[in-house]
Symmetry: C2
Subunit: 391 residues, 2 copies
C-alpha cells in the first residue's frame, strides 16, 4: 500500500486523555481513534492488525475442531432471567426494551446447541463485538466498553472428555500467543472459578508494567497464581514467589453442568474459553515498544516491510515486492527524511528498507530491523531473494 | 467438510412464527437460528454465506479505492446532537447512559475524516453489525433489528468529483449483485433524497414477491422509480409502467455538504453508500428457491459441491476434491437416501455428486445441478477434470 493513499496520519503529541502506552502509541501512529471512554475506531492499519490476530485465532480454533458461528449482540431478557444474570452490572440494557447487550454468550449458546446438536462433543466459537458496562475504562484497548472477543464453548458427555479438551485449548492458546509474539511473557495462572464454576479456572497472564493484575510465580516449581487464589505457600512447599504485574489475555473455565442444567440439557458439561482480540493487540503494544514507537511481531504486523524512498523513486522495488506477494507499506510521501524515519519507527513494521541517492550509488538498499540498530546494505537485485529468506 | 461434523441439522417443519420464505428456508436448512424478533444467529453454513458476500463486497469496494476501517457501535450522544438526530426512532439508546447504538455512521465518520484526512477525495468503508429499532421485524433477515451492513462514505472537494465517484459506486454495486447472482433481477430506481439530501438518491431494488417496496419501470425507456418519487408520467413522456414488488438491496446518496458543514469541515461534499450484507443474503434466498429448498448461486454458496454417499464410502473422492481446493460438503451420515437427497435439495449447494453401489458398477458418479432435473454420469477418474472445468 502506498502511504499517500492511507487516509490516516501520525501525530507527535500524546493524546491528552490517555495514560496507557497502548492507546498513546496506537493513536499517535494512526491505528486507532478514540470516540469515547473505552470506545475506539480501528483505522486501516489497526484493522489489519485485528484481522491478522483474528486469522491466527481462527486457524488455531479450527485445528481443535471449533466451528465458527456468529451470535447476536442483542439479547432477550428471558434468556438472562433463566440464569439469574439479567441484573449484573456488566450488562448494558436497551432503554424501553427487554433487551441487553451481550458481554458473554452462555445464555445464547446453551439453548442453541441444545436445539441443534444430537451428538457430542461439540466445540462452537465466534469472534464478535462485545459490550461491557465498564466504569474503569482507562487502559486504552486493554479494557474497552466495546471490544472484539473470541469466545469458544464446548459441550461434553463427561467430565473426562471436558478435561481432555480443556488441555487441548490450553495448548491452542499458547500457540496463539506464540504466533502473536507474546508467548515468552505469557503465563498460565490458576484462578478461582468465580461466578462461573465451583472448580478452579485458568488465566493467561502477560507480564507487563501496564497490567492491572498481579501474578505470583513460584520460584521453585514455576506454578503461577492470580491474586484471588494466591496463598503464600505453593503446593510444592515453596514460599518464594515472584510477584509481577500482568494483563489477562485469555481465560478458560470448566463450567460443569451449571448452564446446561439451567437450560435443561441433560447430562452435558460445558467449558468456555475467551480471548480478547483487541486486548491481545493492546498487550502486544505494551510488551513491544520503545521510546520511538511500536515494534510489531511479524505475524500480527499490518505490513512486513516499510519501504522508504528518500529523494528518489522506489516504485520499481515496490512493484516487485508486491508482485512477490510481500506485504509492503511504501512511503511515497514528499516529506523530509527525518519525518519519514520517525513515522516509520512509530508505526513499527518489522523491516525498514530505504532507497536513497546514496544507496543507489552503491546499487543497494539499506535494511534495518525495527528494534535493532544494525544497518545492512543489500544489492537491489538480491533484495527479493533476501526478503524471501526472511519470510 | 464432513456433514457428521456439522453441529446443525435440518428440520422438515417450517418455524411457526416466520412467514417469510428466506427465514423459513434458512432456518429449516440450518443456516440461521432465531433468537428474537429480527434477531438471528448465523450458524456455520450461514456464516460461510455471509463471509462470501462480505468478500465480494470488500473486493469491489477496494477496487474503487475504498479503505476499510471498523467504527464502534456505541455512539456518544454529543455526536448525534450536532446533527439533531439523537431523537430519531431508529436508534436504540442505552439505559442510564448517554450512548446510542449505531444504525448509520455519518455522525462518527465525518469528525473522524476531518481529524485525519489532509488530501481529498477519500473513500472509507466498514462492514459491521448495525442496530435499528424496528417495529416491523417480520421479514426474516430482510429487515432485522441487528444486521450486517457495509457502509461506504466518500469525501470530495467538488460536486463534480462526487458525481464521478457516485457513478463508479453504481458500477461497483452492479458488479456485486452480478457476483451474488441477482443482477438480472436488480434495478436502479430513482428515490428521494429523504432526510439525507435535498437531491435525489438511488436504490437498488431486487424484484421478488417478498418485497415490501414497489418499483415502477417505464415500459418505453426502462427507467425505474420508487414509490416516493413516482409520478405517472416518465421523463421520456411515456405513461406506461410495470409495477413490481421489490427488496431494497442497496442505496446510494449524495449528502452534499449537510454533514461536513455541521462538523465544520469546510468545502467538502460527501456521499454515502450502503449494502445490507444479511439483507442481500435474504434477497438471494427469496429469488433462488423452489418447493424443495434454496438454490445458491455459485459464488455465495457455502460449498460448491455436495458429495453424497449412498450405502458406500465416498471418502476417497472427498479427499481428492479437498486436495484440489474444491469446497465440498460431504454427506457421510448414516441416513436413508431419501433423507440425504431432500436435505441436499433444502441446503441448495450448486452441484450434487452421488456415489452409490449402482454408480460404482459403472465406475461413475452421478452429477446433478441444483435447480435442474438433468442427471449425468461421469467416470470417477474424470471427475476432477470435470469439476475444474466447471469452476
Amino acid at each position: 500500500m502506498k502511504q499517500t493513499e492511507l487516509f490516516t496520519k501520525t501525530t507527535k503529541e500524546n493524546p491528552k486523555d490517555e495514560k496507557s502506552i497502548n492507546a498513546q502509541l496506537l493513536m499517535r501512529a494512526g491505528f486507532i481513534d478514540k470516540l469515547g471512554a473505552g470506545i475506539y475506531s480501528y483505522l486501516p492499519l489497526g484493522l489489519m492488525v485485528i484481522e491478522n490476530i483474528k486469522n491466527i485465532v481462527r486457524e488455531e480454533m479450527n485445528k481443535i475442531g471449533g466451528q465458527e458461528i456468529l451470535m447476536p449482540s442483542l439479547h432477550p431478557k428471558e434468556n438472562w432471567e433463566i440464569t439469574g444474570r439479567w441484573g449484573v452490572e456488566e450488562m448494558y440494557k436497551i432503554k424501553d426494551e427487554n433487551l441487553g447487550l451481550g458481554w458473554t454468550h452462555e445464555e445464547i449458546i446453551t439453548p442453541l446447541v441444545k436445539k441443534y446438536a444430537s451428538t457430542f462433543p461439540k466445540y462452537i466459537y465466534q469472534i464478535q463485538s462485545k459490550f461491557r458496562n465498564e466504569p474503569r475504562a482507562k487502559s486504552g484497548i486493554l479494557r474497552g466498553r466495546e471490544f472484539l472477543m473470541k469466545d469458544l464453548y464446548s459441550f461434553h458427555k463427561s467430565e473426562e472428555d471436558l478435561n481432555d479438551y480443556y488441555e487441548k485449548v490450553k495448548e491452542a492458546y499458547f500457540k496463539i500467543y506464540e504466533r502473536c509474539g507474546i508467548k515468552e511473557k505469557t503465563f498460565l495462572a490458576l484462578a478461582s472459578g468465580g461466578e462461573f464454576s465451583s472448580s478452579f479456572s485458568h488465566e493467561f497472564q502477560t507480564i507487563t508494567d501496564a497490567g492491572e493484575d498481579n501474578i505470583y510465580t513460584c520460584k521453585d516449581c514455576g506454578c503461577s497464581f492470580n491474586e484471588e487464589v494466591f496463598e503464600s505457600r505453593c503446593d510444592c512447599g515453596s514460599t518464594q514467589f515472584d510477584k509481577r504485574k500482568s494483563i489477562e489475555v485469555g481465560n478458560i473455565f470448566k463450567l460443569g453442568d451449571k448452564y446446561s442444567k439451567l437450560f435443561k440439557m441433560d447430562n452435558i458439561v460445558m467449558g468456555c474459553y475467551g480471548i480478547g482480540i483487541t486486548r491481545v493487540m493492546g498487550a502486544i503494544v505494551e510488551v513491544f515498544n520503545d521510546d520511538k514507537g511500536i515494534i510489531w511481531p511479524k505475524e500480527v504486523s499490518p505490513f512486513y516491510i516499510h519501504l522508504i524512498e528518500l529523494d528518489t523513486d522506489a516504485s520499481e522495488i515496490y512493484d516487485n515486492l508486491q508482485r512477490e506477494g510481500v506485504k509492503v507499506l511504501y512511503d511515497d510521501r514528499q516529506k523530509s527524511a527525518g519525518e519519514k524515519l520517525s513515522d516509520c519507527d512509530l508505526i513499527g513494521i518489522p523491516i525498514r528498507i530505504i532507497l536513497s541517492k546514496k544507496t543507489i550509488e552503491k546499487n543497494c538498499v539499506e535494511i534495518k530491523r525495527r528494534g535493532s540498530d544494525k544497518i545492512e546494505l543489500i544489492e537491489i537485485n538480491k533484495l527479493i531473494e533476501f526478503i524471501k529468506n526472511e519470510l
